[in-house]
């Protein structure tokens, strides 16, 4: 059995939970937004593969 059911969009392959173009404070806020989205995904009922995209 293979496959992820709760998928959260990260930033990019080389920087999944960060953004080197931002200053450290804004970057941490971005990381937090993605992680909070992940926590939302953990609390969601899913029946199949679901992509959780955080609001821009």
């Amino acid at each position: 059995m293979v496959g992820s059911n709760r998928i959260v969009r990260g930033n990019k392959i080389v920087n999944p939970l960060g953004n080197a173009d931002l200053d450290p404070q804004n970057e941490k806020e971005l990381r937090r937004a993605i992680v909070e989205n992940a926590l939302e995904a953990l609390q969601a009922d899913v029946k199949e593969q679901t992509l959780f995209d955080q609001p821009i």
């Binding site: 059995m1 920087n15 960060g18 609390q43 009922d45």
Partner: protein, 347 residues
């Protein structure tokens, strides 16, 4: 005239049913039960010199020991090849047939073939190493299975090159091997495209993957009391890579302590992964394993606790089976530690 050994379980040997499933390995001269059909199919090219029998339970519960006993019993007969079963859909029998074949291939260095239904659990366990012929689920398929098994076994014994699974009729063993085509990649792709354009049938050289469905775990009800763990396949390891995690086709994972760690420090870690440029993650490992943010959330009560270790391996050109087993082990450990949710970062 090839000397053939045949493996049967207690039922097909005519000894008994479930009640005799505990019997240990024993050997008889010549053929028994379905062995007759094998003997006929051999048509003079070989003869069954020995039939080794074992109870399904005995074998399934003592695979190593039973395999060794089977080999000891067969050795004096000096077989040139072995045929096991076929096992059809019988699970323990399939495992035994696969196990006997593998042992015989590795230790007696003779070819071995078995047959079973595609849902037999023995298939996935042994298909990498053993040639397995697809059969029906029930013994009604005996007459179709036997000639196929015999045919393949004879060819293995005479060291013929065995063609592709689809041509030869065995379950794909999974080995991806390079061959030399008579045309270059460029020639082949342009020709394939022209066929497609003309509406002609063409055969793609690469199949689509078909990953089956994983049942989703139920949601976390009370995240504020939950213990959450961080896992990654981005290859983040402590400096020096103490667990020697490979930079591709990883066979190991590591778990690294977060006790008292508020944020991952770049000087403590390195990345072993050949599939992405780790420059940003090395500058700040929290960009891969977000410990800093998780600690904030922990302090604020948004989650109950951050698990005191993060798990790491490397996701490049991996063997799916290996990763599945790693995942199972990691999940076991996390569950035992009371973790109810995981955030896994993949690169």
């Amino acid at each position: 005239m090839l000397r053939v050994a045949h493996y049967l379980n207690q039922f097909f040997a005519g000894i008994g049913g479930e009640e005799k499933a505990e019997i240990g390995p024993q050997v008889r001269d010549g053929f028994l039960g379905p062995g007759r059909a094998i003997q006929n199919a051999l048509a003079g090219r070989g003869e069954i010199v020995a039939t080794v029998i074992c109870g399904d339970n005995y074998f399934a519960e003592n695979i190593e020991k039973a395999s060794e006993e089977v080999i000891r019993l067969l050795a004096p007969f000096k077989p040139d090849l072995l045929i096991a079963g076929p096992a059809f859909a019988a699970g323990r029998y399939g495992i035994a047939c696969g196990g006997v074949c593998r042992a015989v291939i590795n230790q007696m260095r003779i070819p071995a073939v078995t047959g079973m239904h595609e849902e037999n659990p023995g298939l996935d366990l042994y298909r990498n190493e053993v040639y397995i012929i697809p059969t029906e689920a029930s013994a009604r398929g005996m007459n179709v299975a036997i000639p196929k098994m015999v045919n393949l076994a004879l060819r293995l014994a005479t060291k013929e090159k065995i063609g592709r699974p689809s041509e030869e009729g065995y379950f794909p063993r999974g080995l991806l091997v390079n061959e030399i085509s008579d045309q270059t990649g460029a020639e082949r792709v342009v020709s394939m495209l022209l066929k497609k354009l003309r509406g002609q049938s063409f055969e793609s050289e690469v199949p689509r993957p078909n990953y089956d469905h994983v049942t989703p775990a139920p949601r976390i009800d009370d995240i504020r009391r939950a213990k959450i763990a961080l896992v990654t396949d981005g290859g983040l390891v402590p400096k020096g890579n103490p667990d020697e995690i490979e930079m591709r086709t990883a066979t190991r994972f590591g778990k690294y302590g977060l006790k008292g760690v508020d944020s991952l420090r770049p000087e403590d870690y390195e990345v072993r992964h050949m599939g992405y440029d780790s420059v940003f993650v090395r500058q700040d490992p929290n960009r891969l394993v977000p410990v800093d943010v998780m600690r904030d959330l922990e302090r604020e009560g948004a989650i109950g606790k951050l698990h005191e270790e993060f798990y790491s391996t490397t996701g490049v050109a991996n063997i799916v089976e290996t990763m599945r087993r790693m995942g199972e082990k990691i999940a076991e450990e996390l569950k035992a530690s009371g973790v109810s949710g995981v955030i896994l970062t993949s690169t």
